[in-house]
Amino acid sequence: MMRRLGGVITVVVLLFATLFPVLWTLLSSFKTLKDIVTPVPTLLFQPTWQNYADVLATPSVQHGLANSAIVVGCSLGIGMLLGVPAAYALVRHAPHLKSDVLFYVLSLRFMPPVAIAIPFIVIYSDLGINDTRFSLILTYCLTTISTIIWLGVPAFEQVPREIEEAATLEGYTQFQVFQKVALPVAIPSLIGAILFTFVIVWNELLIALSLTSQNFTLPVVAASFTTMGMEVPWGIINASTILLALPPFLFIGVIMRFLNRFFRATH
């Protein structure tokens, strides 16, 4: 009993420590600057949408949001399209290459992003595609494809080989076996891989900061707010933080609903 109580208290403390800053940011995003900077923190205040209106009205935010959506959407799409079949092929058809490829893929993440960014700037400038969405998508594809392969391999390894063999003996082609058996069985784990990859690229700041000056993404814009001038616009910073954090949440929600529907449909 005492141990259970201790556990509950620990969880409550940890939850508070984790969630309170988020909650405070959320509250502050609805406060006027006067309510935010007051020395005595207020819990009761007149909520305002003004911060959000200001953030969304800022051209750089609109631009950054659109860029982020396009760049992350495309690189994640390409990452899934190439990474998921690659992971499957490694597990089923080229197991002897698996450990080497996995190490290679992981090694892509060893380098500090800034160190990669400088050669990329040179290459992209030579090709005349520097500071474009295209070059950013290209760069992010390295992350998305490699991360999805890295996390997709264990997802497909969980699929028992025999059920694929059973489907083969029922006359299904290799691709149909992948599509109708391996993929549906691996999908819960793959969803995790895709979510994780999305969060990595959505939050990516350093490469975007180095590779873009016109076609910046949302994290770059949000970072720029902190250096805006003498008077720190706390309300706007809080609102943009919430806006930045919102898509991953929504994304998870949508995926979860898709998952539920998917599993009910195949009943």
Binding site: A166, L169, T266
Partner: protein
Amino acid sequence: MATIDIEKFVKQYGPVRALHEVDLHIADGEFVVLLGPSGCGKSTMLRMIAGLEEISGGVLRINGKPMNAVPARDRDIAMVFQNYALYPHMTAYDNIAFGLRRLKVPKPEIDRRVRQTAELLALTAYLDRKPRQLSGGQQQRVAMGRAMIKTPQVFLFDEPLSNLDATLRDQLRVEVKKLHMLLRTTTVFVTHDQLEAMTLADKIVVMRDGHVEQIGTPREVYYAPASLFVARFIGTPAMNLLPMQVAPDGARLVADGLSIVLDPEQAAGVQAGQVVTLGIRPKDLRLAHLQPGAERHAATVMLSEMMGAETLMQVRVGATELLMLVDDRDTAATGSMIEIAFAPEGLRLFDAASGKAIVAGRASRAA
């Protein structure tokens, strides 16, 4: 309906040879059991027939047509796996219907056949359940339904009963047998359980280390094992195997305190002084009064285990310990002296060096 011809099957894993030029002919509608300890190559051979393993050497023919280059999905073979291998994301119904869906069979026809199959396997009540909501026995019945619904040319079973508890195993074994009697589909069944092999098979293929030790009916492998390996592997309780030597007169076998007369036919197969192993099933050791006219041997009862209708007695003749199976009513008390006889038709001789049966006598001719 199909015949299977296997010629000089070889399976090579790098430098390791898992199967050594195995030949096997399976007649249409025959139930063949590949039997052997783990690692003997029986599952590998099954998977080569299925097309799940590449054939390193030799030829596979089904109905006379070479199959080596035909991919698994075009061989029209159904397989039941040891771990059931059901599609976890589909219901029992969909698992069974999955193969027919590919063939674009009309929906009402699929439904009719799935329900008919389910009826046969007593699965009707479970069709809406996912595999994880089914017991092991139910899962394996679903797997059998999935295999039989498209009426394949050949059924393959890869140790399908090993993961089930004893009672279920007995029940399903009977169902497998009944299904085969009903459908008469050519079947290859892999197991390491000799009882399963004996009860199911038309023909048993005993395998060891990638070689075939013996091919024969259950009676042949039981009564006339071709080698010491088969003799040890088949039968519970195990066959008595006694190291002996042929006496100088060539008509008797002798060992420490034990001397057994050979019938002339068997004596003809051995030479004086030859070292042999004598095999005799516990059932073929009789109490002397039940085997009139036979040579009698004085024995001491060391231990007797009542096994129901029969009792297994451990007896000692001279320095040799023997197991004998007698009717429970004939049991003698531990420590008592009895007289026993070796039923002449039960004597099997093996060359001690090669382990091969020495061919002579009636039963060997049957093999």
